[in-house]
């Protein structure tokens, strides 16, 4: 894929504009017309998930998200409360479809209580209980399907933030159409399929392992002795998924809040201010003052 900067001519005012290396769609800086590098997009992107969350709903969800967060710096809250901060982005994701098969061996411990009754020297019956664990060897097979397992390929939306945005129903994907990107920002992938394959393998394996140990294996105690795995990815796709993003800058540091453009789930990291945190939690202040008072009284009594 050619990731060199590209020059496009604006269809609105005729200005020549340069799109950055991974930029796929932008707005003309002169007339605000929508610019999409359709040629490069059609060559690279397999499908697009249309945006289905309106700007009004995205703004409402960001407000609700801000209300749920405590201690957010006032400056960040003020900037993010402005709905004009919100803009739509189409973020590239690699999607893997395949299956992970495993063979496992484990030791299963089942707790039980052994009760022994005996007759003592006075002829009375005495019972004693002892906790015991019976251990068994167990082996079996496991399987996990990967139905379009997503890995963020965006330079701006990292894998952790992407996972925090929840899942996308990729059943509504549409073939690449430049019109779907009009007026939005869109990116090309910043990571290769091989890099995505490593992330997918780790994510599927870790999820499968925790499902196996925490949910599937029976018994009160479990020791997973071995887990042989075979991941077979049948299909790779490069998808553009919609998000709303609101940005703010506090102390020269940029912060972003993301909204899933299909489910409206919100994620983001916000600057925390201790002043705001304490003013929002006055009981914490009162408790601290009370404790300080008690400590002072104890110290004074000790002095006497």
């Amino acid at each position: 894929m050619d990731l060199a900067a590209r020059t496009l001519q604006c269809t609105g005012c005729g200005a020549k504009l340069q799109l950055a290396d991974t930029q796929l769609a932008a707005e003309c800086g002169y007339c605000r017309a929508a610019l999409v590098d359709a040629e490069r997009g059609a060559a690279a992107i397999d499908a697009i998930l249309p945006l289905s969350v309106s700007a009004e709903r995205a703004a409402r969800e960001v407000q609700a998200f801000l209300r749920r967060q405590s201690g957010v710096a006032r400056e960040a809250r003020r900037q993010l409360a402005d709905p004009r901060q919100l803009r739509t982005m189409f973020v590239p994701h690699w999607a893997a479809t395949g299956v992970l098969r495993t063979r496992w061996k484990a030791e299963i411990g089942i707790d039980w209580t052994e009760t022994t009754t005996r007759t003592n020297s006075r002829g009375e019956k005495e019972s004693t209980s002892r906790s015991r664990t019976d251990w068994f060897d167990l082996q079996g097979r496991g399987v996990a399907a990967a139905e379009r397992q997503l890995v963020s390929a965006s330079p701006s939306l990292g894998e952790i933030a992407s996972n925090a945005l929840g899942t996308y129903d990729t059943g509504w994907l549409q073939a690449f159409d430049a019109r779907l990107l009009a007026g939005c920002q869109a990116e090309l992938p910043a990571i290769t399929r091989e890099q995505a394959a490593e992330t997918v393998a780790v994510e599927i394996y870790e999820r499968h392992r925790s499902e196996l140990v925490d949910q599937m294996l029976p018994g009160d105690r479990k020791k997973l002795l071995s887990l042989e795995r075979d991941l077979h990815v049948e299909q790779w796709e490069l998808l553009l998924l919609p998000v709303w993003v609101a940005t703010c800058s506090v102390g020269g540091q940029p912060y972003r809040v993301w909204v899933n453009g299909q489910s409206a789930q919100v994620a983001g990291e916000l600057p925390v201010s201790w002043k705001v945190l304490l003013s929002e939690n006055t009981w914490l202040l009162a408790l601290a003052a009370g404790l300080a008072g008690l400590a002072a009284c104890a110290w004074l009594l000790g002095m006497r």
Binding site: T97, W112, R141, V143, W172, Q174, M216, L217
Partner: protein
């Protein structure tokens, strides 16, 4: 195809004809707004279930069901007059399922009385998944299974009632179908083999789904500030829904019980 969405309940509908001023089939409110085309893109249904009963028979079935709910408010029976026919989407999947399980089996030997066991099951499956966004899977499950003999190719032009485009994509419905099929298969296996406390993992090679339309009559009742919805199968008249209790009737029963108690004490 024009998709409309109700502003109150968010249910989506494709109307037969122009449908100006038509009320939402799910909540009865006339607040339908067009959905932008790029957002809708609903898959085309392949089959639809033939109507088994007409509106009059559905009204009778619902009135009979309402009459059996003696503690429900009187307005419940009147809701039968406002039954609306609508077709609901249902994904049907057929495939080959593999289930890997691990669990505990009771044993008379040993100290703890249990022995762990693990194994695999394989076999074909057929599963329906509700694709409606307006009705819950639980509501629709009560109207299943459908009689396969009554299925016919879907022709939107000949359908005189609104239908709901699939809100659950085939992609999203597929894992649900596998999970549901595996749950049923495991429940049967556990019953047959005296297996206890078993958990499973399942997989099926991807098979295409078929979108089918299930005709139902829907009635709504607004009672004590809450909407109550009732669904009548247009195949056999079975009713799904939970009737509200009438506070007046409950109060009268409580008062009668108190009077009886007072009389007994006196």
């Amino acid at each position: 195809m024009k998709v409309l969405q109700c502003e109150t309940c968010a249910g989506r509908l494709v109307l037969a004809g122009e449908g100006a001023g038509v009320a939402c089939a799910f909540c009865g409110r006339p607040q339908l707004k067009p959905v932008p085309e790029t957002l809708a893109a609903p898959p085309a249904p392949a089959h639809g279930l033939r109507l088994g009963i007409d509106a009059a028979a559905a009204r009778d079935a619902f009135a009979g069901w309402a009459a059996r709910r003696r503690l429900a408010p009187g307005a419940l029976r009147a809701a039968a007059q406002d039954l609306r026919l609508v077709y609901l989407p249902l994904w049907r999947f057929r495939g080959q399922l593999e289930v890997h399980w691990a669990g505990l089996r009771a044993t008379p030997f040993g100290g703890c009385g249990w022995v762990p066991d693990a194994g695999s099951l394989e076999g074909p499956f057929e599963q329906d998944v509700c694709a409606s966004g307006a009705l819950s899977a639980r509501e629709v499950a009560q109207l299943l299974p459908v009689d396969e003999a009554d299925m016919q190719p879907w022709d939107a032009a000949s359908v005189a009632a609104p239908w709901e485009p699939a809100q659950l994509s085939e992609q999203r419905a597929w894992p649900q179908a596998i999970d549901d099929a595996a749950r049923q298969r495991m429940a049967r296996h556990m019953r047959e083999t005296s297996l206890d406390k078993a958990r499973s993992m399942q997989y099926a090679p991807r098979a295409p789904g078929q979108l089918r339309m299930l005709p139902v009559y829907i009635a709504t009742l607004r009672y004590l500030g809450r909407d109550w919805r009732f669904v009548v199968s247009a195949q056999h008249g079975k009713v799904a829904g939970q009737a509200p209790y009438s506070w007046l009737k409950l109060g009268a029963i409580a008062a009668a019980a108190l009077l009886l108690l007072a009389w007994l004490v006196a």
